[in-house]
């Protein structure tokens, strides 16, 4: 009997511990208002006059050096240049998306920015409920027929960013063999990055050898498996690849870090300037295929203020990140060529050939 009691006590202690752990990580979200960390003092009476912009993050921190932070920087620019009053809410649990958006909506915010593909559903629902508020959904593709007048999805042509990365890779490779280590093909932007990368590399050198791999797992693991990314990068390097494009969250980061430990191997990051996000990869990181979220968010906020808000999809800019330490190693003609391609992609004289519809 004594054993039973002891077991019971231990189990309840464990349960308590688990509850404590779970609780503390969810606490801010559950507490609702507390999670809205006010970064700007509210200016009392002149509410009708002020232009208020709120941002709801995907699960994660505002300073994640990735999507959330880039979007927030766009909002901060709106504060500086448009005199907007700004605030953000960090989402702690995917269940709270709607709740968090509503917090801003009920406080009379004019524009609400939601960051990430995952918030798409909640954003669309809230946009319907609050027709007087403008919603900006970062990375939220608005399917034809479902557009709402007060909701703009900020999307990117990942294939163009990938094209630039591929064109860079094809120009700096010495072995004539380049690789891409990717998240899952279940996520359309990842496929776009890959197709663009391959098209860009072939644009420079039609005979280039490209070895690309998607993570075989599902959505739950494909972006959080750095060891798979690293092992795959090694397998590619061992057979002669000397440029690795890592596009797939932490899985891709694993590939970048692995490439950093090889002499003469370059790597290219994705989404944001990964020079800042993955310092371990600096020895090999020549650039990153970026989605320019900050200017995209700012432009949309500005348009909302000026009353020229676009509905449906708004295509943001993409581009390559600075070369940082490799600035001097990259020959001028390579830089010129990239510039020329960038212009070509913009004015439509160069096409990536990526066509998700067909």
């Amino acid at each position: 009997m004594r054993k039973r009691t002891l077991l019971f006590i231990l189990l309840s202690l464990l349960a308590l511990l688990l509850a404590a752990c779970g609780g503390s990580s969810e606490e801010p979200a559950a507490g609702g208002e507390e999670s809205a960390q006010t970064t700007e003092e509210t200016s009392g009476g002149e509410e009708a006059m002020t232009f208020k912009v709120g941002l709801v993050t995907d699960v994660g921190e505002i300073d994640d050096k990735s999507f959330n932070q880039s979007a927030w920087e766009g909002v901060l620019r709106a504060k500086e240049e448009l005199g907007a009053e700004v605030d953000y809410i960090e989402t702690k649990d995917a269940k709270d998306y709607e709740e968090n958006i509503r917090l801003f909506a009920d406080q009379g915010y004019n524009v609400i920015v939601t960051v990430g593909f995952a918030l798409g559903e909640a954003t669309a629902k809230m946009a319907e409920e609050y027709p007087d508020i403008y919603f900006i959904g970062v990375d939220q593709f608005q399917a034809p027929g479902t557009e709402k007048p007060n909701l703009a999805g900020l999307i990117f042509n990942e294939d163009k960013a990938g094209f630039l990365a591929g064109a860079l890779a094809a120009q700096i490779t010495k072995s004539g063999k380049i690789a891409a280590v990717l998240g899952t093909d279940l996520v359309p932007p990842v496929v776009a990055f890959k197709e663009g990368y391959e098209a860009g590399a072939r644009y420079i050198n039609p005979d280039i050898e490209i070895i690309s791999t998607y993570h075989p797992g599902g959505l739950d693991v494909a972006f959080t498996d750095p060891e798979w990314g690293a092992a795959t990068a090694k397998q590619a390097i061992d057979q002669g690849a000397d440029v690795i494009f890592g596009a797939g969250g932490k899985t891709g980061n694993g590939a970048l870090i692995e490439a950093a430990s090889y002499e003469g191997v370059y790597c290219i990051g994705v989404d944001t300037d990964q020079w800042l996000t993955v310092p371990e990869a600096r020895p090999c990181l020549v650039s990153s295929a970026m989605k320019l979220i900050t200017p995209g968010v700012f432009d949309l906020v500005k348009m909302a203020k000026e009353g020229s808000f676009p509905s449906g999809n708004y295509v943001g800019e993409v581009g390559l990140a600075p070369f940082h330490d490799f600035e001097d190693d990259i020959p001028q003609e390579v830089k010129d060529k990239l510039k020329e391609i960038d212009e070509g992609l913009r004015n439509g004289t160069i096409e990536t050939g990526y066509n998700p519809g067909g």
């Binding site: 990580s25 750095p226 092992a231 090694k234 057979q239 692995e258």
Partner: protein, 332 residues
Amino acid sequence: MPNNAMTMIRQRVSWLLVAGVVALIFVSYGATPAVTTALLASTVRQSTPLVLGALSGIFCERSGVINIAIEGMMLMGAFVGFLANVYTGNLLVAVLAAVLMGAFMGLAHAFMSITLKMDQIISGTVLNILALELTGFFYQQGLTTQGKLTPVRIPVLADIPLIGPVLFDNPPITYLSLVLVVVVHILLFRTVWGLRTRAVGEHPKAADTVGIDVIRMRYINVIIGGMIAGLAGGYLTLEAVGSFERAMTNGRGFVALAVMIFGKWTPLGAWGAALLFGFANALQTQFQFLGISTIPHQFVGMLPYLLTIVVLAGFVGRARPPAAIGQPYEKE
């Protein structure tokens, strides 16, 4: 007699299989040396955490304690090893920290399942959840390390074509895992200690009557098992990736269980099974590299799991777990 004949046939078949694999490797090396070397090196690399995890399982289960907490032990080891590396910058200290954390997890599992006689599956599940939550909560984005364990070339041996780069140009924990396979095999089947461990796992009452301290044997084994799982975690953060990520073990601890079963609870068997799993993963990647789409790469990835089911179903000889597994020992 028929039993004997069966064993002989089985042995012949396995030797034939080994010979076939070796021949295949040589043919493929002759055709594409770089690709074959890369493929096999990747096989060894991907099998390392699996074989360590399986060894952890063997220690526990051979002494009669089910360990489904390998995943959690690995994750905790990976995390603590990573933290130690971040704050001390000393990789040896970091590896020791990972192993120590594993030992602590082993102790927790032993306490719950041996002393408290808790259901061992529940004890393991609790540890898995605990590890996931704790590491998820305490991990901060942006912690970076200065480096990771790098390959050590063994002179002369590393210059042998194919075998050299695959086996003798690896980082320390990979070497250690190969050494451990042999050491654990000898420990388990050639020493008094191993005999006692197995006795405790097969028939604890009999072991007790000849004066073996069942509880003590089980405690030691589960703690050692935890240490090896911790080392497997350290392998991930300190040698393979060089950084931590939430839930980065990604089920490797559970695959290790399959590897252990496939290897019929023997270290050498587990090593072979781990190599097969690693090879399937490497091959899956290679298929994509080569743009082969006639066979979906997911099918190749599935292969080891199918084979595990085949083994469990008894087609390739019997896979028999230790008889007293999962039963807490009650002294009369």
